[in-house]
């Protein structure tokens, strides 16, 4: 009994690490590769989750859609809608200073939150979207969660390999060049606008995929789940802690920070009951201080970025 509980907890834990790993990989191609500051991860995460929910739920009167389509279509649709949102915001902001993108992206996140809350015909408002199906549960009854973990891990592996390939490809090299010295990249004839836009859309659609993976796992989504703290800030902490620009770092960061975040939950549960609301704030405080400490003491993260070297390093 004890062991079964532990295993199911472990599955739950790893699934969340996988979902956050997807978000961190998405952010890495925007911030790590290209230096684009997206503080509106919550927007793309939420749009992905809502898209797949609308596409895959059974017909219903509660919200738009209910198309009852299989989940791979939902996930693909999630990537498309979040990518399109990124394209829209990117066309306006990619060529401005990174600070403007940061400001515009929290704006987008805020608007998405308002729409989710108020466009009740489409999203069922604050009451949220229930009964999002979890795939493959019928295939092996009783082990649905384990199977779903495998799906999430598969997604993580595929996205990791694709990101890693992109990073090592000439495409990734151009992104790094733009990040380090844009005028030089432009002087080499690279269309920095286009490359930035591509990286932004690429990252955002991975975040959308993460949102879809989340929606099918928890089965119920509401605007509250896409609070900037959980959906944006934690992902940033993960990428910075793991190592910006390093895909393996992004995944390790997701695991380490999610572990710390879970441990702080256990820790604050020891507090007296009348301090429950304070306890949640205490966790935020701790993770905020943790980020500051990492930024100051180990700004390159656990696994610093290691761009591929073309020339063999000189012998000692």
């Amino acid at each position: 009994m004890e062991l079964a509980g532990l295993i199911s907890y472990l599955i739950f834990f790893l699934t969340f690490v996988g979902i956050y790993g997807l978000l961190a990989l998405g952010l890495n191609s925007q911030w790590g590769y290209t230096g684009m500051l997206n503080l509106g991860i919550a927007a793309f995460f939420a749009v992905g989750a809502y898209t797949t929910a609308i596409v895959t739920t059974a017909p219903t009167d509660l919200h738009a859609g209910g198309l009852d389509l299989p989940f791979p279509i939902g996930m693909a649709a999630a990537m498309v809608t979040s990518g399109l949102l990124a394209l829209g915001i990117g066309l306006i902001t990619v060529n401005l200073r990174a600070d403007y993108l940061a400001i515009a992206s929290i704006g987008i996140a805020e608007i998405v939150r308002l729409v989710l809350k108020n466009a009740t015909e489409v999203t069922n408002g604050v009451r949220g979207l229930p009964s999002i199906p979890r795939p493959l549960t019928d295939l092996w009854p009783g082990y649905g969660e384990a199977l779903y973990l495998l799906i999430v891990l598969l997604l993580v592996v595929v996205v990791y390999l694709a990101s890693e390939r992109a990073y090592r490809a000439p495409w990734g090299r151009v992104l790094r060049a733009i990040r380090e010295r844009e005028p030089a990249a432009r002087a080499m004839g690279k269309n920095a606008t286009l490359f930035r836009l591509q990286a932004f859309v690429f990252g955002a659609s991975i975040m959308g995929l993460g949102g879809a993976a989340y929606a099918h796992f928890v089965g119920f989504i509401s605007p509250e789940a896409f609070d900037p703290l959980f959906a944006t800030f934690l992902v940033w902490v993960m990428l910075i802690v793991g190592g910006s620009g390093n895909n393996r770092g992004a995944l390790i960061g997701a695991a380490v920070v999610w572990l710390i975040w879970t441990l702080t939950e256990t820790a604050v549960q020891q507090l007296p009951e009348n301090m429950v609301t304070q306890a949640a704030a205490l966790r935020t405080l701790l993770i905020g201080l943790f980020l500051q400490a990492v930024l100051i003491l180990r700004p390159r993260g656990i696994l610093p970025e290691r761009p591929p070297t073309e020339v063999a390093p000189p012998a000692k």
């Binding site: 990174a98 704006g107 608007i111 108020n118 940033w236 609301t277 935020t284 905020g288 930024l295 700004p299």
Partner: protein, 303 residues
């Protein structure tokens, strides 16, 4: 109809002066320290709550508690600068932005731990609005609450004081020079460290004041500053970064636009913009500005 427009404009000026007080600080820190400070809204929150404690706990009159809010926000800003930003100044500006995003959450969670997550008000009960101007604008005249008059007067006094400071003091001139061109300012031997301290004193002081005003106009809540951050950024961008005077104009434009967006034409129709989407108005103006003139309205003019 005209009365409605004037009434909403009046409310817009009240909201706009709160936004403007915030935007001056964001514009100065952005211009001088080189990053968009995402914790500015939460500095406002901290000032509002510190004034609240002084007001209720020490039972001081509000005009005495108000400077305490300003001083409190200054102290918070300087503490954060000392603890985090000062250690990151050598890294790229974007790292400071990320750090400020973290600082925003740190301040907000501290506010929640100390004061709890519920709404608070400075003065319980509903304040009666005063009617005036019936003979000029026609029936039923315009309404304004005494607190809103206080906000307008307070904002006007503070903006004038900042104007005098920036215009006529050595430090004010140094700050404007830094905001205009940091490298050139350094070359002329301006003491950057002192300028940074004064930037926080002015910026956070105004933020604390704006926080108290916002709490006076609506209510106190740990998220109050975070939710007004977007209009403040919009006002900053509208006015042009590093342009405190532009920020004032930007604040008023955003405030008035947000209030006017709820106008009903004709009077019993649906409002132009569903009030739930009011924050989106600021964002829409900002996006329009970023497309048409990303350097802001006042970029060409050196103040």
């Amino acid at each position: 109809m005209l009365v409605d427009i004037l009434q909403l404009t009046l409310y817009g000026i009240v909201l706009g002066s709160i936004i403007a007080l915030g935007a001056i600080g964001v514009s100065l820190t952005f211009g001088i320290l080189g990053f968009a400070n995402f914790s500015h809204g939460d500095l406002m929150t901290s000032g509002a709550y510190i004034a609240f404690t002084v007001y209720t706990l020490l039972a001081l009159p509000l005009w005495l508690a108000f400077p305490a809010g300003m001083l409190g926000a200054m102290a918070v800003a300087l503490a954060i600068d000392w603890a985090f930003y000062s250690r990151l100044r050598r890294s790229k500006g974007l790292i400071l932005l990320i750090s400020s995003f973290g600082a925003a959450l740190i301040i907000r969670s501290l506010v929640q731990i100390v004061w709890g997550p519920d709404n608070q008000v400075y003065e319980p009960g509903i304040q009666m609005a005063v009617r005036f101007g019936e003979d000029i604008v026609g029936s039923p005249g315009l309404r304004i609450k005494p607190d809103q008059v206080r906000i307008l007067i307070g904002a006007a006094v503070l903006v004038s004081a900042v104007h005098v400071f920036l215009r006529y003091t050595r430090m004010g001139k140094a700050m404007r020079a830094m905001a205009d061109n940091p490298d050139l300012a350094r070359l002329t031997g301006i003491d950057t460290k002192r300028v940074i301290v004064w930037t926080w004193v002015i910026g956070a002081g105004l933020a604390g004041a704006a926080g108290v005003f916002l709490g006076l106009d609506t209510r106190l809540h740990p998220d109050m500053g975070w939710f007004i951050l977007l209009p403040i950024f919009a006002a900053t961008i509208l006015g042009g970064i590093g342009r405190p005077y532009g920020a004032i104009a930007g604040g008023l434009v955003i405030g008035i636009a947000q209030e006017l967006s709820t106008l009903q034409i004709p009077p019993d129709y649906e409002p132009l913009v569903n009030p739930a989407y009011k924050p989106a108005v600021a964002f829409a103006i900002m996006v329009l500005m970023l497309i048409l003139r990303p350097t802001g309205l006042f970029s060409g003019r050196s103040t």
